[in-house]
Symmetry: C2
């Protein structure tokens, strides 16, 4: 299965210890990965069709914020989950692009001076550093609206479109990701609290990854059991991902990570290492990855690539 | 028709010259207006159902930004247009609430320091003045997401829900309202230019009012002719409204208008009076109102209240 090779290539290229045998396999599959990533990039570009009314600078700021960067983990999950539930990559494409639009929107707004005040994202200046604060606010807004336009206008079955919009809006909204962002900001400089950090990670990060997985199931018209399996996978993967991110913030290399490090710790953010230390955080990340893998049980070996992704998120060094 | 009385009451209460006969009628119909407005307020509150994950302060900031204020012109148009096209107020309710959510989102973000930097809105401190900048950014984001959640989750027919989401997302997005906001900010301190100000008003203001009207038609399952009539009405009404707003910015009383005046002029904004002077601006506003009224021709006398609304927007003093 090409998608398996794809994920193997990500894993082989990025985990810390790579055997020479895997390394020899890597070169081939990195080509597969590059090909797939380019294909998604072209899907993304196709769906970012601009109309003439858009001032050119807004068009540029939006494209700057979403194209040519990012791991594309969320759209990959949407696509693969749709396939695992009996759908096709084409059926998942609008939802894959929409989830990446929402992710990009959240990064642009999260980086703003009034929020996390970050200068660097994916190794380049953040949107407001490149285009100014007003443009970054509006580029984020535009990306959020665009996500829903793409779902509603490009998913051919109205019932699927409506279900996808409801899921994404709920997942990214005030009782989802945005609620988590608020909780994150409110908890700055509070004493470390494991229950609170779990809540923040669950909403701020894991909810949108859960959403990515659920959207894949929705696009395939999956039954309740498979949809729940998808949701459980996404939620646990998201938690594993964010705990690993907390650890990288303390231990990572700025150039490799592509954004400022030790930032969360210095800003008095609620993080896993602050609450329970590095060792226990690593154990918790691996535990969440394990649960994510277990959630994929109904899909059997077809889901091996998503299992490898779960291992990857806790083993990555950037 | 109660809705006619309602609009008459708005008109009677707010136009500059009120005859004593109209004035005597006013007291009765203001009661009708208050009753209707309260009914919409309760619909709005019902649909702002919060889940437990929402940090309380976000819930407060969202409610602060949308409840207890505003003329509710957009949801009124959505509701009446749905009724004129053969639908019911109940069928229009999710779209009426959604359009008001998008309007409130746009005001919250537009008022931010990096944007128009306003301290006063509807006679009270703007959201960022009351809750801080980060919370205002996220409250706006939450309102935008909520609009789509409400459309997708509360319109029972999936095809109608999907069409409404596509229309609203397009109307408020980068080729609609947000595009207009960007054009507005980019054109600050440029030489006055009538073509540019028409473009800005058309996208920044009129597009969302057109959207309100179109959503009403969509919720009623209207045919192409009626949908186009609704769109034409909304577009011309929106233009009339914004030109009148430009004039009020120069001639209005701050306490009566409920926000800072002479602000646009001082900020070097593109306005109608700056481009063509006050007299010609008033003529243009009345001309747009006339076109809006003409667009309602297919609806006959049933649309008298929306015609009165078109007169109201150019005659109001706040």
């Amino acid at each position: 299965m090409p998608d398996c090779q794809l994920l193997n290539s990500i894993l082989a290229g990025k985990v810390r210890r790579v055997t020479s045998a895997t390394s020899s396999n890597t070169e081939n599959v990195v080509k597969t990965l590059t090909a797939w990533a380019q294909k998604f990039e072209s899907t993304l570009k196709d769906m970012l069709t601009a109309e003439s009314a858009v001032p050119e600078v807004l068009d540029k700021a939006v494209r700057y914020s979403i194209l040519d960067g990012g791991k594309r983990v969320r759209p990959f999950i949407t696509t693969r989950m749709c396939e695992l539930c009996g759908g096709t990559a084409e059926e998942a494409a609008p939802a894959a692009v929409a989830i990446e639009c929402v992710h990009a929107f959240s990064l642009v707004h999260d980086d703003l001076p009034a929020m996390d005040d970050d200068d660097l994202r994916r190794g380049k200046p953040t949107c407001h550093k490149a285009y100014g604060e007003a443009m970054a606010i509006m580029a984020g807004d535009a990306l959020l609206a665009l996500a829903f336009e793409i779902l509603a206008a490009r998913i051919p079955q109205p019932a699927t479109a409506a279900a996808a919009v409801a899921e994404l809006a709920k997942g990214c909204g005030w009782a989802g990701m945005i609620g988590g962002q608020v909780a994150d900001i409110l908890s700055e400089n509070q004493p470390p609290d494991l229950a609170l950090v779990n809540k923040i990670h669950r909403y701020k990060t894991a909810r949108l990854i859960e959403c990515a997985a659920r959207l894949g199931a929705i696009c395939a018209g999956a039954n309740q059991t498979l949809t729940q399996a998808a949701a459980d996978y996404g939620q646990q993967l998201g938690l594993a991902f964010q705990i690993a991110d907390d650890i990288l913030d303390l231990t990572g290399d700025e150039q490799q990570v592509g954004k400022a490090v030790a930032k969360d710790a210095n800003a008095g953010k609620q993080t896993y290492p602050a609450a329970v230390g590095i060792d226990e955080s690593q154990a918790a990340a691996h535990q969440a990855a394990k649960k994510a893998i277990e959630a994929l049980e109904p899909f059997g070996t077809d889901a091996d690539d998503l299992k490898q992704l779960a291992r990857f998120v806790v083993e990555r060094n950037k």
